[in-house]
Symmetry: C2
Subunit: 355 residues, 2 copies
């Protein structure tokens, strides 16, 4: 599943019976593809952020189930089922906020249950789960291209677009959601310039977004997270486009910590604030953003980066990895079914009605 | 001029005919006191941020003039004057935004002109300029203690106070402006907890503010700059207190990049936003914040920190060091003459009328 838009770089790839993922902790300094052949290994890769980004986590989880099925495919039906139940548990516990993880696991679980009910052999089940993981991944790219087209129509020629964190090819199976919008607009011949927030503490904006855009020669300027307001106040930002890890039924948006601040500033400066969002990221079971679980990660991420520590000994640290932007600050959700302006409960529910 | 509130740590100290400054680029990992005996040396220390913080820069500039006068004190009157003219120029060119630099240089210039007019010897002039630098520094501490008292009265017992950058003892001759308010409230027996924004790219919040507060056992929690909005939305912040590098005649406030974002968020959440501000930081010659020069610093500060680089090759970078918060977002300016609520032109002008 190579993404043709980043020459030579794939987020996930299937090689020699293992799912390989580019180690995003090492970018942009080093390109390394560790491979995984168990659910526990994939879960640890998700937890430790070898792979991150809501749609990419979904793909990884699907492969986590597939490789575990392959690993267990010499077992009896009962032992296989026990092992698979454990695999679902281990993967579900890897990260709490991005709903795509649970969406992908549900999809794999439904298929597994169906195949078991049909009396398929363990070996056949494993092969079909792998096909399903490939399908999840291929569909993700196709969906991102649709999001890109719908979103590109919203960006005027010459737009200076601010993005936060990385909702790029590296956050997905390819093309990206927020960066997919930017890529599609650029590919359509629009002159687009991007401001990338560096996105402390994990620096996805600096290390991943800026790197992706430099690779493709889309003009990008890196800023620290605290500069966005200054640039908006000076009239240097025309639109904001971000991704999301989970959207509640009322349109509240969970995304990387700092997104809420950008949304508040965009509103003050009357700058449109767009959220690129595959339907798999919308969680109709969550009534509003206040109920989305917000992951708190390790202190060590805030203490420094890359082996350099700058926090003094003895200081307390908070490290919420996400925040919630209320729906009223969102100009539009950009989905594979089109852009939903001023998203609310009814418009979101309508996205899930049969065409 | 030791600051009794940080045991053993002084921002500036006079030793063996040189002005020594704690090298703030190395904190909190290492305590080092390089010494300076020329205006050019002090100017470079200011430019490279060995010393930073508007009031501390003012003190350093005063000493820069004093050490240059001592250095040139064996010259003829004419050569001395030429050398001193150059010293004023070199120091004035070190950093553009903090007005305290120019305030201190004006003060030293007026004294020099007066002493020359009185026919004082070069040697006497040098001695009197040094006395004046000592006086600037001692007055700064006294002023900060007054600001601290006025500000402490505004913080309720149990307040959770967010601050951005470092307006602490290290940004002044001692006690601090914004942290002076916090110190004074704490010393008065109030239970105060502080959130310190880490303040990219130079990390003054993590390296200096958190360190100062840990030293004094004032409870402090370090966060990245993009977390403040999340905490405010959850009701975990009761007040914001920051320092400033220059306040315009209309009350607009220039301060460390990111301050504007905090002010916008504080307004949205109806949290008071206080600016601790000695009168020497108010520039009546600047009509509004749009006219305050905003320093853009080197790309290298944004590329990484402490020898680790995370920005990809080829990315463009912006690095504005300050931003402007409009007066209408400021709940009060806290000065040594008291707190000015909802500061505007008339109230600010009144601060400069004789008592």
């Amino acid at each position: 599943m190579p993404d043709p838009s980043i020459a030579g770089v794939e987020t996930l790839r299937w090689r020699d019976g293992r799912i390989e993922m580019i180690d995003q902790r090492l970018l942009p300094g080093r390109i390394d593809y560790p491979g995984y052949d168990s659910a526990a290994g994939v879960a640890e890769a998700i937890r430790s952020m070898v792979i991150r980004g809501a749609p990419a986590i979904g793909c990884a989880a699907a492969y986590g189930i597939a490789v575990e099925a392959i690993r267990l495919s010499k077992m009896s039906g009962q032992d296989f089922q026990k092992g698979m139940d454990l695999a679902f548990e281990v993967l579900a516990a890897s990260r709490p906020t991005a709903v795509n993880l649970f969406w992908a696991l549900d999809r794999m679980r439904r298929l597994l249950d169906k195949l078991r009910a049909e009396g398929k052999s363990v070996r056949d089940i494993a092969a079909l789960l792998l096909e399903e993981a490939h399908a999840v991944t291929a569909q993700d790219i196709a969906i991102n291209r649709k999001i890109g087209e719908f979103g590109a129509a919203l960006l005027p020629d010459g737009a200076r677009v601010l993005t936060h964190c990385n909702a790029g090819a590296l956050a997905t199976a390819g093309h990206g959601t927020a960066l997919g919008v930017i890529r599609s607009a650029f590919a359509a011949g629009k002159s687009i310039r991007v401001y990338a927030d560096e996105t402390r503490p994990f620096l996805q904006g600096a290390r991943l977004t800026a790197w992706e855009l430099v690779q493709e020669k889309i003009p990008v300027t890196l800023i620290t997270d605290n500069m966005a307001g200054h640039l908006m106040r000076r009239g240097e930002v025309d639109a904001v486009v971000v991704g999301t890890d989970r959207v509640a039924a009322n349109g509240d948006v969970a995304n990387k910590i700092g997104t809420y601040m950008v949304a508040v500033l965009a509103r003050r400066h009357r700058i449109p604030f767009y959220v690129a969002c595959p339907l798999s990221t919308i969680d109709l079971n969550i009534d509003d953003g206040g109920r989305i679980p917000i992951e708190e990660r390790s202190d060590s991420e805030v203490r420094g980066f890359g082996g350099v520590e700058w926090a003094p000994a003895g200081v307390q640290i908070r490290n919420p990895a996400f925040d919630v932007t209320p729906a009223d600050l969102v100009t539009a959700l950009i989905t594979e079914k089109g852009a939903v302006m001023s998203p609310g409960r009814a418009a979101i529910a309508a996205l899930f009605e049969p065409d």
